[in-house]
Amino acid sequence: MKKDKKILAKGVEAIVFGALEAECKCYFGYPITPQNDIPELMSRELPKRGGVFLQAESELAAINMVLGACATGARAMTSSSSPGISLMCESFSYLAALELPAVVVNVMRGGPGLGGIETSQGDYFQATKGSGHGDFRFLVLAPSNAQEAYELTAKAFELAEKYRNPVMILSDAILGQMKEPLVLKKLKIKKYPPETWALTGAKGRNSRFFRSLFLDAEELRQHNLKLMKKYQTMQKEIRYEAKVEEDTEVLVVAFGSMARLANEAIEDLRNKGYQVGYFRPITLYPFPYKTLKEIVTKAKKPLKILVPEQNCGQMFEDVKLAVEGKAEVISLPYPPSVVPFPEDLKKEIKKCLNPSKSRKV
């Protein structure tokens, strides 16, 4: 058997290769730091494969080009970074309302406003709860290494089609710009044929239309209920990574690049005999509320949960919701451009440990 190719790749390159592995056909985007490797690489790779690359005049145009392409059933995506994503938010609402399987990548940078080009996780709220008007959800996947970025991006196209719902890859500047080995594995990405719904010219069938305007109150209610039901079925896509035992005393919950720093700190402390654990949500929506609650319920000792984030405490709120007051949840905010070292996290974790009892002998 032929060995899969291994390359040293940036996270953003891994995202491109993942999209290409899923046979993404169209890319539309507008330049913004720190994700420009995505359009640049796409502009070389897509035309070679018979795909479409187009640099749009703005993020507004880019996301609506995606809308048009998705409406024809083509696999289409865009990518941007925080301020650019904000510009797309109105159209996110339309994409969800029209049930179009778009894939959107956000390589987060500092905000608010123009912020900075340093890494950040400041768009957690936006991605999981508030990326546009009305009741709708994106399925949000948060990779924490290049291999996962590759595989989740490819999977994003499958999930988008499965649910006919937009999927967001939420990355950040660290993940985007760091390089690590990436195995370009052949992936099995299921296709959901768009023939049953896409706009392809009404040949041999009645014409179809997509709309989000329902002036009839009952129609609008039904449309919302239908979407709500879909979001409920999306719950089965929950993914996470956990290292936790029943006698864990301190649990660190983190996502994306912050999870890597946390993992390093936790591994070191565990090797030294501390009863500490690690939990990383991979799907930020749907969020693994139930699993977190179970961890808290099963804990033999009162559990303290630390939530380090490269923002001022956003996922922290979901963790609090999950544990329903049954554990102390502490936010560790690291606003953009200050990235903690694992040593800093270790200090914070140790503060939460019972000094006399928490070390296994």
């Binding site: 660290i174 710009q177 390089k179 080995p181 890597r260 720093l261 070292f341 040593e343």
Partner: protein, 190 residues
Amino acid sequence: MRLELIIAGFGGQGVLFTGNLIAQASMLADYHVTYLPVYGPEMRGGTCNCTVIISDNPIASPLVLNPSFLIILNLPSFLKFIPRLKNKGRAIINSDLVKPEEIDNIEALQKKYKLYFVPVNSLAESLGKQMLANICALGAFYKVSKIFSRQNFEEALKYMLGESKAHLIEPNLKAFELGSKYIEEHYQVR
């Protein structure tokens, strides 16, 4: 084996390229690696550094507070990163821009760390290619760290330069050899 390397210098000294090459060569030697660039908004002339971690085991954090190895290409980087070097850490230092005789506490530092002063600018100049100072430093790193083979390096270099810059392979290899030889001739490497 685990080595945490920070390479630092001026923008334009090839800091990021060096980091990339080391990461690429170490990957070819079958190690886990991460490479993380940190740089200012300036495209040229600003300060610049990157972190490369090379390990037998999967690497969680791509960031390190206290590296075990430094490649220092200018004085500001020396002043910034030497205090962060782990006890008994090693450093390759561009002695054309950081002169040992001008460092106040050099004896104390040499007790704590293993410092390799290599005049990489002069070495590169002897080839008539000042821009290859970084590769001279890389040659020195190769000799001191013994992470990857010369063949790994050559393969990484060819991959990084690609066909359009294939003519640069020979001079790069020469610079690499010079750096490596300098270590051999001036230091005892275990």
